[in-house]
């Protein structure tokens, strides 16, 4: 019983991070139509920056959240303005834009990863923060994992309220449904798309900060997270924000159960779920 509880809570802790990462990718793919292969690199940037800020300058990782998030946002916003908007303008069709933007994100991946390895080197970096044991319903967890879950859920909920309740959020939803019509209705479509790409990058950056509190970070850590984010996004239904949130927790639970049996197989299990999903319900949990 205790092991089961252990696995479920462990899964929720992991799921919170996955949900955050996947929500970021959903924004970038569902609204801005960029299947961003370099998503994991923003996670890496968040993690590495936090490591530097904490170990060199002694800045609390939770404060880093407020530093890395906005920096990642500006970076993402700028990249969309400089790169993806031009591609969108010159692409003959939506399908052509989807493949050319995906290829451009490879280019970003190469560039970011190489710059990061010049800046930080290829060593594995780790620090300890809030590694205090907390007793939770008979199971023991580290406080940093609980803090990470709390932050991930808080960001997710805040973002959901932003999209569901504000005027800007309405513009985002309109752009997700039909960018051309949204533009005709007076939505400044270019800045909404750039905003979404920036917000996606900010979520990845924030997730990187939270991940660095729990796991060691290194320059090539991004790719597995990109794969996980893509699987969660497909699981939740392409472009659905609540779907990604739920999908993240589903995958987290699966990951925690599989990791209990054999840690080497978690990515394999995620992929197995993805295959199953494509065979049974290719539109995802919340997809139409």
């Amino acid at each position: 019983m205790v092991t089961l509880l252990n696995m479920v809570i462990g899964g929720l802790l992991l799921g919170g991070l996955y949900a955050l990462i996947a929500m970021g990718l959903t924004l970038q793919y569902g609204v801005a139509r960029v299947l961003n292969i370099s998503h994991g690199e923003f996670i890496m940037l968040g993690g590495m920056t936090t490591w530097t800020l904490y170990t060199v300058f002694g800045i609390n990782p939770l404060v880093c959240l407020a530093i890395c998030g906005p920096i990642a946002f500006v970076l993402g916003f700028g990249i969309h303005r400089v790169l993806f908007r031009r591609l969108q303008a010159s692409a003959p069709s939506q399908g052509a834009f989807e493949s050319s933007s995906m290829l451009a994100s490879f280019g970003l991946l190469f560039i970011i990863q190489n710059l990061a390895s010049i800046a930080w080197g290829t060593e594995i970096r780790a620090y300890t923060y809030l590694a205090i044991p907390v007793h939770l319903a008979g199971a023991v967890f580290q406080a940093n994992r609980l803090v990470a879950l709390g932050c991930a859920v808080a960001i997710g909920v805040a973002f959901y309220i932003f999209v569901a309740r504000t005027r800007m959020g309405k513009a985002i939803r309109a752009a997700a449904q039909d960018p051309a019509t949204a533009g005709l209705m007076g939505v400044n479509i270019n800045s909404v798309l750039a905003l979404c790409f920036g917000l996606g990058a900010a979520m990845a950056g924030a997730a990187g900060v939270l991940i660095s509190m729990i796991y060691p970070v290194h320059v090539v850590m991004g790719m597995p997270y990109t794969v996980i984010a893509m699987i969660v996004v497909a699981l939740g239904g392409l472009g659905s924000i609540p779907g990604s949130f739920i999908g993240g927790f589903v995958l987290g639970l699966v990951g925690s159960i599989v990791a209990y049996m054999d840690p080497g197989l978690s990515l394999v299990a995620y992929y197995g779920i993805f295959i199953l999903l494509l065979l049974v319900r290719p539109t995802g949990i919340m997809g139409r």
């Binding site: 591609l87 399908g95 989807e98 290829l103 451009a104 991946l109 190469f110 560039i111 190489n114 394999v268």
Partner: protein, 304 residues
């Protein structure tokens, strides 16, 4: 164009005679990238389904060589490498090719990581080692086998393009819905073409493994083998049949130079080249060549 191809082929065939040693290894690796790129274009270039699986097929070929290399003669190993990859492509295609293109891209992207992790787990849990040694083959043999695979790949790509079958593929790329209504069995066609394109990647992997002599899951299933063919095809331009060949040859050569000259910045430079190619060369190198050709012979041709 076939005449030029024949001349280049003869020059390549004579290379080990007048330039033995390092140059042979260098050109083998360029040939390998040309094979990957041309076979990628056979499927993805025409149908528009973006496959990120070349690394998976290439890696399966490598592991075929590692597992069977000691027991069987080299040509058999190379053929089996191709067939094994083709079987994998068939399975992947059967699962994903009924769905929208973007699922296919995600699925093939994850496939490489999936196989890498599964294989790593298997090797550590069951065989107790991480990597495997591959039987050694001399450089000239590798070179000629690579060249033979290249010729078959290019011929296959050429004949597919010229046939009714190629026209059907093209129509899928332009408008899949219309292709269905024209009576084309699109799913079967996509799966078969995907499987054909994987044969050459697997065969190239099997022979390339013998040059590396040692492989492990991280070496064999490296996502760069997926990214590079896509980059090379885009850089060369997929509008003309010679575009991918040109792109692969130029970028592969550039890559060798960058790796030796700037080992710590070469990914950065490749990334910048890729971005520049996507932003400013929408039709690739071929677009430049065609424009130059039009300018040179512009007056002599009727506008069609």
């Amino acid at each position: 164009m076939p005449g030029l191809f024949l001349i280049v082929l003869l020059l390549l065939a004579a290379l080990p005679v007048y330039r033995p040693g390092y140059k042979v290894i260098l050109v083998s690796s360029i040939l390998m990238y040309v094979i990957l790129t041309v076979s990628w274009v056979i499927f993805s270039g025409t149908t528009g389904y973006l496959s990120l699986a070349p690394a998976a097929f290439f890696g399966v070929g490598m592991y075929t060589a590692a597992v069977l290399g000691m027991a069987l003669p080299l040509p058999v190993v190379v053929v089996l490498g191709g067939l094994a990859s083709s079987c994998l492509a068939f399975l992947v295609g059967a699962v994903t090719l009924r769905l929208r293109g973007i699922y296919f891209a995600i699925f093939t992207f994850g496939l490489v990581e999936f196989i890498k992790n599964l294989l790593l787990w298997w090797e550590i849990e069951r065989t107790g080692t991480r990597g495997r040694f591959v039987v050694l083959v001399d450089n000239n043999t590798i070179y000629y086998v690579m060249l033979a695979i290249l010729v078959m790949t290019v011929l296959t790509a050429y004949f597919i393009r010229r046939s009714r079958y190629g026209l059907a593929l093209q129509s899928i790329g332009e408008d899949e819905e219309a292709a269905v209504h024209a009576g084309i069995n699109v799913t079967a066609l996509k799966i078969v073409t995907f499987a054909i394109s994987a044969v050459f990647m697997g065969a190239a992997g099997a022979i390339w493994a013998t040059q590396l002599t040692y492989i492990d899951p991280y070496i064999a299933f490296n996502l760069n083998y997926s990214f590079m063919p896509v980059l090379m095809a885009i850089f060369g331009g997929i509008g003309q049949p010679y575009g991918p060949i040109l792109g692969a040859a130029v970028v592969a050569y550039l890559r060798e130079i960058l790796i030796t000259e700037f080992p710590y910045q070469y990914m950065l430079l490749l990334g910048i080249i890729l971005l520049v190619a996507i932003l400013f060369l929408p039709n690739g190198l071929v677009g430049l060549v065609e424009r130059a050709r039009r300018r040179a012979f512009g007056g002599q041709r009727a506008n069609t």
